[in-house]
Symmetry: C2
Subunit: 276 residues, 2 copies
């Protein structure tokens, strides 16, 4: 990132004793800064607070954090804000310190606006599996080595694929390394259930809300490679890209059915400028 | 830790952009410093180098690292050395930077010698499950949130239990939160296979070598709660404690069969002073 703020201080120096490093004992959020504002910030802060409750990290995203973020990105127009909350420093050993003093880190990088991939993106299946654990499912924890290993599979040919899909040990397709997955079928939208793995993305939750508003049937369910093969259309979402139609999954080509165009327009109306 | 050395510099300030924090993209080793020396250092360094190969982190534990460690602990008698290697800094995103410049951290804490628990320790079963993923199994990665959550289960009554056992979603007992597990049965020793989860501990590997030398049958296999219930004896190992006999697992009591005494004596002969 271009610059960091750690516990309110302009610094990029994290204490080596921090449990975020030692154990990945923490969470993060990646927010799109667009036209000087953090997009969907309340959704991000709600998810962060809820995840902190699940992990027992005594941190609540409150007005002082909102103020800190606003001051930190003041004057910026377009970029990425990374918000990390860890359980803080502690003595050696897995037992959480009591009381814990969480560490909060804000990082900002200026970026240039991306162009929408009108033809769609190319996607592969990763060999690296994603593990199942209900206790951690849905959260964006700092334990992301599975995603790193999956992403590394095509790091030598980065232009070949824009994303890789991850499966669990039951041959269920769970998510992309950095995106959530949706399929268009004759009877509506499908997206993998995230009760055992994966991150419940903020852009994913926007799609779910849009589907509800537009009375589009949306099922959170088990998704197989065969389901994807027989889908009318496939798209990916995350907070920074908005929505990417998928052009190809390992040789299988897809068009962009009207439902994707509708959902994309609805996202654009919610302020996702990448979808305009 | 009392003090840190990061990439050869006396500092406890890690760059916030380090992938060790962002993704748990790294590994660690915990070494017992006893009588001024790092116990079983070659085993730790071999495991670290092998794990770096598996993760694609371009780091080899070589003579310059041995020298750095020796200088770092010079003058110390008894304590714990923590060695962390991460994939280093990188831009945002899961893709590993190429080339990567790994970060190495050495941390040292002085400790006082522990007394051997002659009566054995009390152990519980954790509700938090350990996930299965062959790609990461056996390694001591920085993704340790499952162990943190398991250990947190009895953080409010720390004196009640000295360790908690973790099961996977198939009801197999895999390990303790910070230890490896062994059972004594009529036909020899049993320890959970670690091909799907868990850390292949250095003290565990010493036990395996001892069993081989003493011609004790040792099976690495699937272990159930029922297997543990019907065992003659149970013990736990890690690099700092050496070997702990288990006195009780949730109401089930165990004695200390002669085989545990023999193994313990063999560890003591290898320099594990906690077992004397």
């Amino acid at each position: 990132m271009d610059r960091w703020l750690i516990n309110g201080v302009r610094s990029s120096a994290l204490a080596a004793d921090d449990r975020g490093l030692a154990y990945g004992d923490g969470l993060f959020e990646t927010l799109a800064v667009r036209a000087g504002k953090c997009r969907f910030i309340e959704f991000h802060l709600d998810r962060l607070t809820e995840s902190c409750v699940r992990l027992g990290i005594p941190f609540e995203a409150d007005n002082s954090l909102r103020k800190e973020i606003a001051e930190f990105i003041a004057g910026e127009v377009h970029g990425t804000l990374k918000l990390i909350v860890t359980r803080g420093k502690g003595p050696r050993g897995y037992a959480p310190p009591d009381p814990a003093w969480p560490t909060r880190l804000l990082g900002f990088s200026a970026t240039t606006p991306a162009t929408f991939p009108h033809m769609g993106v190319r996607v592969r299946y990763c060999q690296s599996l994603i593990s199942r654990n209900r206790m951690l499912a849905g959260m964006k924890t700092l334990n992301r080595l599975e995603q790193v290993m999956a992403r590394a599979e095509w790091a030598h040919v980065p232009a070949e694929y824009q994303e890789g899909l991850m499966l669990n040990d039951r041959d269920e397709v769970v998510c992309g390394t950095m995106t959530n997955l949706f399929m268009v079928r004759a009877d509506g939208l499908y997206t993998p259930a995230l009760d055992e793995s994966g991150v419940a993305g903020i852009m994913r939750s926007q799609i779910i809300n849009i589907a509800s508003d537009m009375q589009i049937e949306l099922k959170e369910t088990s998704v197989s490679k065969m389901d994807i093969r027989t889908a009318e259309g496939v798209f990916l979402t995350n907070s920074l890209i908005g929505l990417w139609p998928v052009q190809e999954v390992e040789g299988q080509s897809y068009g962009i059915p009207p439902l994707i165009v509708q959902v994309r327009s609805a996202l654009a109306k919610l302020g996702v400028q990448e979808c305009q």
